[in-house]
């Protein structure tokens, strides 16, 4: 099928298939999947300047579908999502400006790239360690899965911060938490997203769970809430620069919508620690993809 805006001919089933796979990831883990969709789109022949913008467009629609499912399952804390949004937007803007400043000072691709790899590997290792520990706690201590979190030190410390205003998050089962803690999480993830050019889902998810103590299923749904808005904003800005082929995005979205439903519904069949254990694989995949790009100078197409 011809896509006249991007000026390429691509099999629409391939695009829908990519959307379907990334949709499952998004629905199940609450991530945008851009770190995976990007290389696959590039491999499929999508021109470079259309990859990011088109992916953000399809991510917006996919997040909507997954979000509706998660909301019906009671997995979305909209109050938390809206409060975090301000910090996320500020963080993204800040991250983009930092990149501009660093680029003006000299070449920073390698520094940012390897920093990204280190961050991803730490997230992967820590999430795997914590979730295995939580699963053992369920078996040996006979804990309820909702209480099984293998690492609670940071969340307890964060919740003990009493800088007003204090907010209650009944949707997440949190009686009182400082608003600045919530904005801080949004700021950090937005900063990383702005600097690294990603949605930030696989950083936000662990921060919500281990930093704020949000239950895993709620973190998945709420993360999608953030992605929907940030991806929507990104779609607009990239479309204004002529970097979005909306036809491609719509085709990808038809597959993503199906995948997102499967992913979202599947969370009901997995307990929180198992979702976190499976999630730990994603940052590892992301780190490998970034390493391939750093070492070869190109993406998956080099393999």
């Amino acid at each position: 099928m011809e896509f006249p805006i991007a000026g390429v001919v691509i099999n629409p089933l391939l695009l829908a298939g990519i959307g379907f796979l990334v949709g499952i990831l998004g629905g199940f883990f609450g991530v945008g999947g851009g770190f995976l969709a990007g290389p696959f789109m590039f491999w499929a022949g999508v021109p470079t300047n259309f990859v990011v913008g088109t992916d953000l467009a399809h991510m917006t629609g996919k997040s909507m579908v997954a979000l509706r499912r998660h909301r019906a399952l009671g997995h979305v804390d909209a109050k938390l999502g809206f409060l975090m949004l301000g910090g996320t937007i500020l963080g993204v803007e800040g991250g983009a400006r930092i990149i501009e400043a660093l680029e003006a000072a000299g070449s920073v691709d390698q520094v940012i790239g390897y920093t990204y790899v280190v961050i991803l590997l730490i997230i992967s290792a820590f999430t795997a360690f914590e979730s295995v520990r939580a699963l053992r706690m369920i078996q040996t201590d006979r804990l309820d899965v909702k209480e099984a979190l293998g690492f609670q030190a940071v969340a307890k410390r964060v919740r003990s911060i009493n800088i007003p205003p204090m907010i209650s998050l009944p949707g997440s089962g949190i009686a009182s938490i400082s608003l600045w803690s919530i904005i801080g999480v949004g700021l950090v993830t937005g900063l990383l997203a702005g600097m690294l050019g990603v949605g930030g889902g696989f950083v936000r998810m662990p921060l919500l769970i281990y930093g704020l103590g949000i239950p895993t299923h709620i973190a998945v749904g709420t993360d999608l809430f953030e992605i929907m808005f940030s991806a929507g904003f990104g779609t607009l800005t990239h479309a204004l620069k002529g970097n979005v082929d909306v036809m491609m995005a719509l085709v990808m979205h038809t597959g993503a919508a199906l995948g997102a439903q499967i992913g979202a519904i599947s969370t009901r069949f997995f307990v929180g620690p198992r979702i976190r254990l499976l999630f730990s694989i994603l940052p590892l995949v992301g780190a490998i993809l970034v390493l391939v790009r750093l070492l070869t100078g190109s993406g998956l197409e080099a393999l």
């Binding site: 804990l143 309820d144 899965v145 607009l236 204004l240 036809m247 919508a257 307990v271």
Partner: protein, 93 residues
């Protein structure tokens, strides 16, 4: 220490879960058929008009892009919901 309670029962053994799973598979089948029909009847016709807007007015194109993605998301979900309600099938929610 909290008493351990299984958060998720074995879906295969539970009849209610099996029924919901079958309903969900039926829903997916309808969804798939709708998507294929939508693709051939709507998406293929949008290509040229969108390309013209892209060439003439990027601001309009940007708004149209976001609007189309959001509308498609709502549309696909609404149509499937309507069909399932018409058929009297339970939703997983």
């Amino acid at each position: 220490m909290a008493k351990r309670t299984p958060q998720h029962a074995n879906p295969i053994q539970d009849v209610a879960w099996r029924r919901l799973l079958v309903n969900f598979l039926i829903e997916l089948a309808f969804y798939g058929l709708l998507v294929v029909g939508y693709f051939f009847l709507v998406l293929r016709l949008l290509g040229d008009p969108l390309a013209r807007i892209f060439s003439d007015n990027l601001t309009l194109y940007a708004l149209a892009s976001l609007g189309l993605i959001v509308a498609q998301g709502f549309l696909l979900d609404l149509v499937v919901t309507y069909i399932l309600d018409l058929l009297g099938l339970d939703r997983l929610e």
